[in-house]
């Protein structure tokens, strides 16, 4: 099958919430020899971008977005081993992202990750109720440019201060840009607590991520200077 058609079919699986159809479609794409990174970027992620457009104009709502995310993840899990094997890391930048200490919500994070991946960000998912120490360890281990703090309640949003402090105490603050995400976040409050910015909208946050990464690289704070290829 023509590659463009195959990739379009993958995108449609995500858009149409077709959880049963995505696995065979991914297998067929791999069998066709389409590079794994292209399956993600131009197939699955393209579907998520279209979900975002429909969400913004009110054609789909959060329940449908979450099922689409689920389909995306099902497809990604099949491709992931091939990505690692091929050593393909054509990402713009790397981010570690987790729901902050004391918070076990996943909905925002589960939507944000495919959106950020669709925009070219490699995202290391740290899970939920991530301790300050775990964030510090993740920064040391994965050397990201960005740290995403998912906070879905007002009370846990306030913990941002402690997490930023822990990163500072570890001597890592200058190497990363820290963003808060979630429905209760406020950019002014987040900056007051030491973060760099905040967003309550995954799709709207992409431009913010791009700006923060550019800012970090210009300031010379990035842990790894070479562009990833």
């Amino acid at each position: 099958m023509d590659t463009a058609i195959r990739l379009e079919r993958l995108a449609r699986m995500v858009l149409d919430m077709n959880g049963d159809g995505v696995a065979p479609e991914v297998e067929d794409a791999l069998a066709d020899g389409i590079p794994p990174m292209q399956i993600v970027a131009d197939g699955l992620s393209a579907g998520m971008r279209r979900v975002g457009e429909k969400f913004k104009c009110g054609e789909v709502y959060m329940p449908e977005v979450l099922v689409s995310c689920d389909v995306y993840y099902k497809g990604l899990e099949l491709v992931r081993p091939r990505l690692a094997a091929a050593g393909q890391t054509a990402w713009r930048s790397r981010m570690v992202l987790g729901t902050i200490h004391g918070d076990i919500h996943t909905v925002g994070k589960d939507v944000a990750i495919p959106v950020f991946q669709a925009a070219g960000y490699e995202v290391v998912d740290l899970g939920v109720d991530v301790s300050d120490a775990a964030f510090v360890e993740a920064i040391r281990r994965h050397e990201p440019d960005l740290v995403g703090l998912g906070t879905y309640m007002t009370s846990t949003f306030m913990h941002t201060k402690e997490t930023v402090r822990a990163i500072e105490s570890a001597g890592l603050r200058g190497r990363v840009r820290i963003i808060c995400g979630g429905p209760s976040v406020d950019a002014r409050a987040a900056k007051g607590m030491g973060a760099d910015d905040a967003s309550d909208d995954a799709w709207g946050a992409v431009e913010m991520l791009n700006r923060l990464v550019d800012d970090l690289r210009m300031s010379g704070g990035a842990a790894r200077k070479e562009a990833r290829t």
């Binding site: 919430m17 959880g19 009110g58 789909v60 709502y61 959060m62 329940p63 449908e64 979450l66 099922v67 689920d70 004391g102 919500h105 996943t106 909905v107 589960d110 309640m153 007002t154 009370s155 306030m158 429905p183 309550d200 909208d201």
Partner: protein, 407 residues
């Protein structure tokens, strides 16, 4: 006009002598205990123990002298209960003010936080130091659901397990008489419109039990299973509705249902999803309520819900609360123009995100007057601020708001 007449006129879309005012008539028109204590002091009223009747949201019972001061036209049915000192236990508010809390829902101190436990002993809510209300800590169906065990699950969920008065005082079977007698006594001693809080939440209980993401996935990804859960839940609600209205129906004016369908950005679910899963069930509950008692149906429904309003009206809704005007699609003028003949707007009187906590009293007054002038003509409006008065609201602003509403 009496208070009750004023509210009923508004609900019947007849413009009363002034806009009726709701303060603390239900659990989203209330006032945080910290703010209430400061308000009493600011008004120079005699010191009284602050009673926190809603531990989760930390809301205070508003005493009669404050209701009289502001010409409040509503009162919650719960005020008929827990009148004895034995129902209350000592506690301290986050700002150090002594208060009283329902003895059956007393928070427990843990490491740098307060917690609430279910009857089984599980921690179901947390209020870390520095935070002013409790948040949910356990979702009973997050890992594994069981629609045949919804009542047990509701006992392990903050929103459904931590009872406000009448609480366990009127638990069936023996409590029905207490419920009825209490309601009757309240009816006889007040001419304020009485609001009976029922709940009957559908989407929200799905979210409370499963957690938001899981319930959304169920609705969009496994509709058959979602319907099975909602059918079982509806069965429980209809049974409780029957018991509730047979006990208190003759004595209340408004029955308050709840279901937050909106968000800051608009509805959480599509109109199509609302029509499939919730509209028929809401319609059944609301029509059953009106069959059982002469009551108006008020739905507490946070967020931007403009797209759902036609279906809510079609399902039999009389009044919508809280009219969160800062949300997408909730412009007061447009709402009144489009829906004002068919729906009572119970709320929208004062923005609580920016104006009430942070503006000057003069700005608050002007804002309220503008809202009243938009919503009140022709009836179909009951004034309340958009949601509860939070702990950080200055007492001067509360006074400015309520005096402007009554002017």
């Amino acid at each position: 006009m009496t208070h009750r007449e004023r509210v009923r006129a508004a609900l019947d879309h007849r413009e009363p002598d002034r806009a009726p005012i709701d303060l603390s008539g239900h659990r989203s028109s209330g006032i945080a205990a910290v703010a209430y204590a400061r308000l009493r002091k600011h008004l120079g009223l005699p010191a009284r123990p602050v009673r926190v009747y809603d531990p989760v949201q930390q809301l205070a019972i508003v005493d009669e002298d404050v209701l009289d001061r502001f010409g409040v036209d509503t009162i919650e049915l719960g005020r008929a209960f827990a009148l004895d000192e034995a129902s209350w236990a000592d506690w301290t508010l986050p700002d150090g003010t002594p208060c009283r809390m329902p003895a059956w829902a007393l928070p427990e101190r843990a490491d740098r936080e307060w917690i609430l436990r279910s009857k089984s002993g599980r921690v179901i809510a947390r209020m870390p130091d520095g935070v002013l209300y409790f948040e949910q800590a356990h979702w009973p169906f997050a890992e594994q659901d069981d629609p045949d065990r919804i009542p047990e699950a509701m006992g392990e969920c903050m929103w459904t397990a931590v009872a406000t008065p009448s609480g366990p005082l009127a638990a069936p079977p023996g409590g029905r008489n207490l419920l009825s007698e209490g309601a009757k006594a309240l009816r006889e001693r007040t001419d304020r419109a009485i609001l009976g809080l029922f709940g009957g939440n559908l989407l929200e209980i799905g979210q409370f039990l499963y957690r938001n993401d899981n319930f959304f996935l169920l609705l969009a990804g496994d509709p058959g299973r979602a319907h099975r859960f909602l059918d079982r839940l509806l069965e429980i609600h209809l049974g409780n509705l029957d018991l509730f209205l047979k006990s208190v129906g003759p004595y209340i004016d408004v029955i308050v249902f709840g279901d937050d369908l909106g968000s800051q950005r608009g509805p959480q679910i599509s109109p199509k999803m609302y029509r499939e899963f919730f509209k028929p069930r809401h319609s059944l509950m609301w029509s059953r309520a009106k069959q059982l008692a002469d009551v108006k149906v008020n739905l507490h429904c946070c967020g931007g819900v403009r797209e759902l309003i036609p279906d809510l009206i079609d399902a039999g809704l009389d009044a919508l609360n809280p009219i969160q005007t800062s949300c997408k699609g909730m412009d007061p003028r447009e709402l009144k123009t489009e829906f004002g003949k068919d729906l009572t707007f119970w709320g929208g009187g004062c923005d609580t995100q920016a104006v009430l906590p942070r503006a000057t009293p003069d700005v608050v007054r002007r804002h309220v007057r503008e809202r009243v002038s938009l919503f009140a003509p022709g009836g179909g409006f009951v004034f309340q601020q958009v949601h509860n008065v939070m702990a950080d609201v200055p007492p001067e602003n509360i006074v400015a708001m309520l005096d402007a509403a009554a002017a």
